[in-house]
């Protein structure tokens, strides 16, 4: 009732744009009871998603000897234990190295493959595409035991280098998908322009193509790094005793060690995932800026 009254008044006064918006707002407020319920349910579900992760963080700063929430007092003892025990720091350093190696190799292979798969029109392209992204969909246990049987035969169990090779196979699809996404929106006229202006193929690729797809390449590298750093199932089978990664070390201790050291390690994982999330978001924004900025500059 009051909404229509206000609207009429607004029109009569000369219809400032502000007055015309008002009835819509009032109408929205009218259904707010059901909406309030919906928002409450959504809030609860989001709480369920986030709460377990944030329980781990206070537990890691606990002064208690056992897992206890809320913690009775503040202490850095579990971080001290983590940082002073060489088996934990060794596993961390190995995981970083393996993940860096995986990111490097998977980004190189995946970027080249994405260029071919998005732009090429050759026979068998769809088949190759399906093969390249399949490690993302096939259950990890299948890939893990396949690689385990293979490595057992050629005696590569327990080697960090072998872990890099196995993790790269799992990480390549993530690079391909991310780079492909930036290539699909790519304006190829920019490359023709560069070549018309006298650049050769190599110069065109390095100075035009690569800078434009760089956000996708870096996001792919980030995915590859995380894929390897978090990977447990393949590592369970092939890391042996010589290449114990951080997730493997956590897994070995998760049922015996009831003190919160693992909570401290988990907190480090959570901080890392937030950092990765922020970087991925910044890269996405950059990629969108590049995509929207270029056509206006060209035309």
């Amino acid at each position: 009732m009051s909404a229509t009254g206000e609207a009429r008044q607004g029109v009569g006064v000369g219809a400032s744009p502000r007055a015309r918006v008002r009835p819509a707002r009032a109408a929205r407020r009218r259904v707010s009871l059901g909406q309030g319920l919906l928002y409450a349910v959504t809030g609860l579900i989001l709480f369920y998603l986030v709460f377990p992760i944030f329980v781990v963080i206070p537990v890691s700063f606990s002064s208690a000897k056992y897992l206890q929430f809320p913690p009775p007092g503040f202490s850095l003892q579990w971080y001290e234990k983590y940082l002073t025990r060489s088996d934990w720091t060794g596993a961390t350093w190995l995981s970083v190295q393996v993940a860096a190696g995986t990111a490097l190799l998977a980004t190189l292979l995946g970027t080249l493959a994405a260029l071919a798969l998005v732009r090429g029109r050759f026979w068998g392209r769809d088949l190759i595409n399906a093969f390249v992204v399949s490690p993302m969909i096939i259950p990890s246990i299948i890939v893990a035991i396949g690689i385990y049987f293979f490595y057992a035969r050629i005696q590569l169990i327990g080697s960090p280098f072998a872990l890099v090779l196995a993790h790269t196979a799992l990480a390549v699809p993530f690079v391909v998908v991310n780079v492909s996404a930036t290539l699909v929106g790519f304006d190829e006229r920019l490359e023709y322009a560069a070549m018309n202006l006298g650049a050769n193929r190599r110069q065109t690729f390095l100075k035009v193509t690569l800078p434009l797809i760089r956000p996708g390449v870096l996001t792919g590298a980030l995915f590859a790094f995380v894929t390897s750093f978090d990977e447990l199932i393949v590592a369970l089978f092939i890391s042996g005793t010589g290449a114990v990664t951080l997730p493997r070390k956590m897994w070995d201790g998760i049922r015996q060690e009831i003190d919160p050291t693992i909570a401290a390690v988990s907190t480090i994982f959570i901080v890392l995932s937030v950092l990765v999330l922020v970087s991925a978001e910044l890269l996405r924004q950059r990629s969108e800026r590049l995509r929207t900025a270029i056509p206006t500059q060209v035309e």
């Binding site: 259904v31 919906l38 959504t42 579900i45 989001l46 998603l49 986030v50 377990p52 992760i53 329980v55 781990v56 897992l67 206890q68 929430f69 292979l109 080249l112 493959a113 071919a116 798969l117 732009r119 090429g120 029109r121 050759f122 093969f131 390249v132 992204v133 490690p135 969909i137 096939i138 259950p139 990890s140 246990i141 299948i142 035991i145 396949g146 690689i147 385990y148 049987f149 293979f150 196979a169 390549v172 998908v177 023709y192 995915f223 995380v226 978090d230 447990l232 199932i233 089978f237 997730p247 956590m250 897994w251 998760i254 988990s266 994982f269 959570i270 995932s273 937030v274 999330l277 991925a280």
Partner: protein, 316 residues
């Protein structure tokens, strides 16, 4: 490529020769693309394709040629419970039944929980939605091992939930929450929820709000507008999300191993057990069956839904 061709106007006699030259050039360009794909394909063939294929072949040739490895699956020894029905089976088929049941329940539960979240995120202002999306993406980027561990902390005998319930006087002594089917459900739904929210949100963001306004203007009540306009338009997201979550749930290993009990062994856990028992042939046979189930479901549903929609939704 085509932009430059019409700049020349070839004389009639040269037309054929020029067409041949262009075809040759085009073949050269395509050859270059094949060469670009070659390193990745060769690498994956050696370190992924061949090992997996050799493992699957083991189902038929380890320790001897034949279908001996499938015999434990096809020999019916006792009745098992599948979705409340008693059917003839054996201990291994029971694991398949449990796996399917957990995957189906998890998929339906994630859909039920993800739908309102995606709906709200798609309805509010994009700037606010991006902010709330952080709450979905933090768990998405956190490793499955860490999240399963978090549930161990929460559900344990001395865990948070038991303490709170005892503090409130609801429980007198700690309840057994960890190593139960319920714990597996709670953990798996928690881990797979983002995989359902993201494709749903992507599809719902793309729904033209004018269609809803039109339905309202034509006299539709809010519930009818939702049921007859919004819900059908969001079906591609539902399909993509369910397929993704179901396939991922079928292969779950870490969460059921840490949160489940003796009666909640899923197929991946069983395969790992058989490998440690050095029954590699039988483990391969189980892996082959799991792969076939996953592939058949994937192919059938992605045909119905269209594969490109599925890729559009995965991982933001």
């Amino acid at each position: 490529m085509s932009a430059t061709t019409h700049a020349f106007a070839p004389r009639p006699g040269e037309r054929a020769a020029q067409a041949a030259r262009f075809a040759r050039l085009r073949r050269g360009v395509q050859l270059r693309y094949v060469l670009l794909a070659l390193p990745a394909v060769a690498f994956l063939a050696v370190f992924y394709g061949y090992p997996v294929a050799a493992m699957l072949l083991r189902a038929f040739n380890d320790p001897a040629w034949g279908t001996e490895n499938f015999r434990p699956l096809t020999t019916l020894t006792r009745d098992i419970d599948v979705f409340g029905f008693s059917v003839p089976g054996n201990a291994y088929l029971r694991v398949f039944g449990i796996t399917l049941q957990i995957a189906i329940v998890t998929t339906l539960a994630t859909l039920l929980l993800a739908y309102p979240v995606a709906y709200v995120l798609a309805a509010i202002r994009p700037s606010r939605a991006n902010l709330l999306m952080i709450l979905v993406l933090i768990p998405f980027w956190t490793s499955i091992l860490v999240r399963s561990y978090a549930w161990m902390v929460l559900l344990g005998r001395e865990g948070t939930i038991n303490r709170v319930l005892m503090g409130l006087g609801i429980l007198d002594e700690p309840a057994k929450l960890l190593n139960t089917r319920l714990a597996v459900y709670v953990g798996m739904i928690h881990i797979l929820l983002p995989f359902m929210i993201l494709p749903l949100y992507a599809v719902m963001r793309g729904i033209d709000r004018n269609l809803l306004r039109a339905a309202e203007n034509l006299g539709g009540r809010p519930w009818d507008v939702f049921r007859r306009v919004f819900l059908p338009l969001s079906l591609p997201g539902i399909g993509a999300g369910c397929l993704l979550v179901f396939i991922l749930a079928l292969g779950f290993y870490i969460t059921p191993a840490l949160l489940g009990g003796q009666r909640d062994v899923m197929i991946s856990v069983l395969i790992a057990q058989q490998v440690t028992l050095i029954k590699w042939g039988f483990a391969s046979a189980l892996a082959l069956v799991l792969l076939l189930v996953a592939l058949v479901i994937y192919v059938v549903f992605s045909r119905i839904l269209g594969v490109e929609r599925l890729y559009g939704g995965t991982r933001a």
